[in-house]
Symmetry: C2
Subunit: 184 residues, 2 copies
């Protein structure tokens, strides 16, 4: 089997399991079984579990931000694009198997002990914040609005994860609408 294909299979299995149950609750044996790869192959591709975890976060980061950007790109009006971020969050929260933000979860689990994970969480959150900042600038809104919008989104992710509900997205969107209005 092509090693690129094997890598994707490993990451598919790892993502399902790590995201669904937590990193530490999933052994390499479970990844082996779920991926259909041999342990030997798995360790050829990722010399240690830590590498697999980091690759999981990296690939998910790319996909997550890509999906968000693709959804937002479907709207033309710059102010509408900002609100579309919260629409997308709502859809994400409602997906089966949603279990909160993978990075916040990973940070709670490994942030204190795995520097590679902590660094990726910071990078992911910073990238998301920068993305929001770009949308704010494109809408001609004051840059100071970025922080609050980012905090609303983060709060919605956490709350949706803990309560297993997509309602926080709508709350956050309404608050965002108010903030945008007050800055008009």
């Amino acid at each position: 089997m092509d090693s690129a294909v094997a890598r994707e299979r490993a990451l598919d299995a790892a993502e399902d399991l790590f995201y669904g149950r937590g990193v530490q609750a999933v052994g390499m044996d479970a990844v082996r079984t779920a991926s259909g790869l041999s342990l030997k192959r798995l360790y050829q591709l990722f010399p240690a579990k830590e590498h697999l975890v980091e690759a999981y976060l990296d690939r998910r980061d790319e996909r997550w931000r890509g999906r968000l950007a693709a959804h937002v790109a479907g709207h033309a009006d710059p102010r509408r694009r900002l609100l579309a971020v919260f629409d997308w969050l709502e859809g994400w929260f409602a997906e089966p198997g949603f279990r909160g933000c993978a990075w916040i979860n990973a940070y709670g689990e490994l942030g204190a002990t795995a520097p590679g994970v902590a660094e990726r969480v910071r990078a992911h959150k910073e990238a998301f914040r920068d993305y929001l900042a770009g949308l704010v600038a494109d809408a001609g809104l004051p840059a100071a609005l970025t922080g609050p919008l980012f905090l609303l989104a983060e709060g919605a992710m956490v709350t949706a994860g803990v309560t297993r509900s997509s309602a926080p997205a709508a709350e956050a969107r309404e608050a965002a609408r108010l903030l945008l209005g007050s800055a008009a």
Copy 2:
């Protein structure tokens, strides 16, 4: 030694370690050493690690909400009391050893596998939200403001934890001020 005293010592050690390094990264041996208790005594007080973890969350919940309420009670004006929540968060974020919200971290670590932990996280967040709802009502503000304020606070906790900065509290407070103003 009085068993009530021993219990407090165990919880003091557990809180330091669990909060600072994560629950799974801390073995019962570390709690034993840090508390100065014997393993036998520890298991008499808490028949399993799970019990200790839950007791840690319970005691911290009581203290956390108590400290917040005490700070807020120092302000008379009902609208000022709402903003005082964010002042208090800022002070908390700046404390040495701050490492984010203990419940969000615990949820990321154990939410999927430990129902007792997940339940406590939900209860804690719901209690905090209810507390905010009370402040909103006392200020004669529309109840719909509770959600956004709660999300801002949650977002600030997560972001402060990940970035190791207390700045998110000020951002959240400014956003809250705007929301309060727009609802005046």
